[in-house]
């Protein structure tokens, strides 16, 4: 009797242990089996091959782990992200625009990566501006992914045909060239320079070129700068430049349509945008496409360009923070950054910088006010609306600038 019960007990123990072993193995495997990464569609159209090779390397270093890449659009990825913060099922790694970081870092949406910072390649020499966008109260939440400046992509064949032998070195010279291009290509709807009317990144470049600005902090309070005489001079110059050179819609943004699609259809001689625009100019014009730095209004200078960029962050809701951090390490490794550079981007560290058009354009750049509520200014389309009002003549430059400036100050000064 006793022996039998002992045997039974043993059997139970063995079975229980076996069950425990399989379940613990199963849970471990289930936990480790996948991480979800949200990248922007820029990666999908520009460097999907890099994403694939990084995933391959990551998966061979972490056997049994799969990486689930989900591409997002800039317009609504934050709303989707907010929904996952509330309801779960969110990403383990998320790409954030450098202008979007502050609001989320302030709300505590990301994991603190300070302790693993030294493990990222070149973290000692990260691009200053980009690294700063991922730091809040001294802690690192965002890993610089890549930066990009905005350049002119143009068709050398059309320039040559219009008798332009030398690339323009001032805004006025570029305007004169545009007139030559217009004369050679009279077709309706053809733009010597395709500029989406409400492309505020480009519009603000004129403001900064004339010494103006968007907003500044004066003893703890934000003050709008768009209505200052210098900013108004810049906005007026933008209006005149657009009128003389572009036949794009005055009210559309730089993704409806994509400027490179207009260009690929032969409807533009040049366009303004990130340097990776050269990816998508169409097979027909690939050979004749080149780039130069947008010249400023003072001859010989370049126009300050928006230094855009992305960071990678690990949401606080992720259950795979260590794996997520490892994936970011692979995706921002020296070799990954070199691939990004070859695709026309600016790598994330100064020691990797070369001297491409894009990198030269970055030498004179501007950035948005680093305020917690800046992203509300962007999402509220305050600057786009102002540019549309100016270009369509609905309001004078001064009226439009004044109203936008007041608006921005009130948004930024919210508690």
């Amino acid at each position: 009797m006793k022996r039998r019960s002992i045997a039974a007990l043993l059997l139970v123990t063995v079975v229980a242990a076996a069950v425990a072993a399989t379940t613990s193995g199963a849970t471990k495997k289930a936990n480790a089996s996948s991480i979800t990464v949200w990248l922007q569609t820029d990666a999908q159209s520009g460097w999907a091959d890099l994403v694939a090779s990084v995933n391959q390397k990551f998966q061979s270093d972490h056997p049994g782990t799969t990486v689930n890449i989900q591409y997002q659009g800039w317009g609504d990825h934050l709303q989707k992200f907010d929904a996952t913060l509330a309801g779960g099922g969110g990403p383990d790694v998320i790409e954030m625009g450098n202008t979007e970081m502050t609001k989320y870092m302030a709300a505590g949406a990301f994991a603190d990566l300070s302790s693993s910072k030294s493990g990222f390649d070149n973290s000692g020499s990260w691009l200053k501006g980009l690294a700063a966008s991922g730091v809040y109260k001294g802690k690192t939440y965002g890993v610089p992914y890549y930066a990009g400046s905005r350049v002119v992509t143009y068709r050398s064949d059309l320039f040559k045909k219009a008798g332009i032998s030398k690339l323009p070195t001032s805004t006025a010279a570029y305007t004169a060239d545009a007139k030559k291009l217009m004369a050679k290509n009279g077709k309706k709807g053809f733009s010597p320079i395709y500029i989406a009317g409400t492309d505020w990144y480009f519009g603000m470049s004129f403001v900064f070129d004339y010494g103006g600005g968007i907003a500044t902090q004066v003893s703890g309070k934000w003050k709008g700068l768009l209505a200052s005489p210098k900013s108004i001079a810049g906005l007026t110059a933008y209006k005149n430049f657009f009128a003389a050179t572009s036949r794009a819609s005055k009210t559309t943004d730089e993704t409806h349509p994509n400027p490179y699609d207009v260009y690929a259809q032969g409807q533009a001689a040049s366009m303004i945008g990130p340097s990776w625009f050269s990816c998508c100019v169409g097979a027909k014009y690939k050979g004749s496409t080149a780039q130069f730095v947008m010249p400023g209004h003072v001859a010989g200078t370049s126009m300050p360009g928006f230094l855009g960029g992305s960071d990678l962050a690990v949401p606080i809701t992720s259950s795979q923070k260590a794996l997520a951090t490892d994936w970011i390490k692979d995706f921002t490794s020296t070799s990954s950054e070199k691939t990004l550079q070859a695709k026309g981007n600016i790598p994330n560290a100064t020691n990797l910088l070369g001297s491409t058009v894009n990198e030269r354009a970055a030498s004179r750049s501007w950035f948005v006010p680093t305020a917690k509520h800046w992203v509300d200014v962007e999402n509220g389309n305050i600057l786009r609306n102002m540019l549309a009002q100016i270009l369509t003549g609905k309001l004078s430059v001064k009226q439009a600038a004044q109203s936008a400036s007041d608006n921005i100050a009130s948004v930024l000064n919210q508690p």
Binding site: T251, R384, N385
Partner: protein
């Protein structure tokens, strides 16, 4: 005797309640709980910070106060009411005209017309918006092309989304186009109830087409018209997909907000969910007030017949 009678009475009164109980319970669960949650949310400061911690801070009626003191709210409300009135009026008038046409035309034409209507109805909104967007496109839109080639003026590179009026007119066209099938087919069904002999008798008495329509057809259609109008008000007042997608996120500004877009921008884009909840409850109250007239008249008609 009395106890038996009592029991029967009790049974008679209880059965209807028992029958509607499942529906009431289901509605309470799927509408009541979210509504309760919405009310609670509207009384809290609930932003991104609170969202991550799943915990809001009670602020009383502050969200309502801030919304009601917002100039943009009142401008948006006025714009939305005008917009709704225009949409509902157009939908009802054109829908009724199509229904009357359906009665008059020959069978093959009627089949063709109603299949066209059903096709419109079956098109998903997002797809319809995309098609509309292509047609009115600035660079290569077919609308600009056709209008120019019909010599109706120069529509080369005409921007249909340049002004608020033009934007909302495009949205109205799209909404009315999408709402017509339901209204037209429902009214067509209603027209079948109009007794033919009554119309014939009226003709014999010398009534013209307009008189017959006004004095016979319209009174018979009235209950259906009331239902359709109140439903259209509810739909059009809170419409989101068409204006948001057709106008486009990057063109949405306080100058062209409709209520639902105002709610979306304030609640989601600014991550101020408490304020968003307050706006949505105010919207609910406004729709209630707007449609109460119709509901009351509908109930009265129900009692009369």
């Amino acid at each position: 005797m009395t106890s038996r009678r009592h029991r029967r009475l009790w049974g008679r009164t209880a059965v209807p309640y028992a029958l509607i109980a499942p529906v009431v319970v289901t509605i309470a669960l799927i509408l009541g709980y979210p509504l309760y949650f919405l009310v609670r949310l509207s009384l809290q400061q609930y932003g991104l910070f609170e969202l991550i911690r799943h915990k809001g801070v009670g602020v009383g009626l502050a969200n309502y106060r801030s919304v009601l003191h917002d100039q943009i709210f009142w401008h948006t409300l006025l714009r939305t009411i005008v917009f709704t009135a225009a949409n509902v009026a157009l939908t009802m008038v054109v829908g009724l005209l199509i229904a009357l046409l359906l009665v008059q035309v020959s069978r093959p034409v009627r089949v063709l017309l109603s299949s066209g209507l059903v096709l419109v109805w079956s098109m998903p909104v997002v797809v319809a918006v995309q098609v509309w967007y292509w047609m009115t496109n600035f660079e290569n839109g077919v609308v600009n092309y056709v209008l120019t080639h019909l010599h109706l003026g120069s529509f080369e590179q005409h921007d249909w989304y340049a002004s608020t009026f033009s934007q909302l007119s495009m949205v109205t066209l799209l909404i009315v186009w999408g709402a017509l099938p339901f209204v037209a087919i429902t009214l067509y069904a209603g027209l079948a109830q109009v007794p033919r002999d009554l119309l014939e008798a009226a003709s014999v008495d010398g009534a013209g087409a307009w008189m017959k329509f006004r004095d016979i057809t319209l009174p018979i259609l009235r209950p259906i018209l009331l239902i359709l109008t109140s439903l259209s008000i509810i739909w059009d007042f809170g419409v989101f997909t068409q204006p948001y997608l057709l106008i486009g996120q990057s063109k949405v500004t306080p100058g062209n907000f409709l209520m639902s877009i105002y709610l979306f921008e304030e609640g989601y884009f600014k991550s101020d969910y408490g304020r968003g909840a307050a706006i949505s409850l105010l919207m609910l109250a406004i729709v209630g007030v707007l449609s109460i007239v119709y509901v009351r008249r509908m109930v009265r008609i129900g009692v009369e017949t």
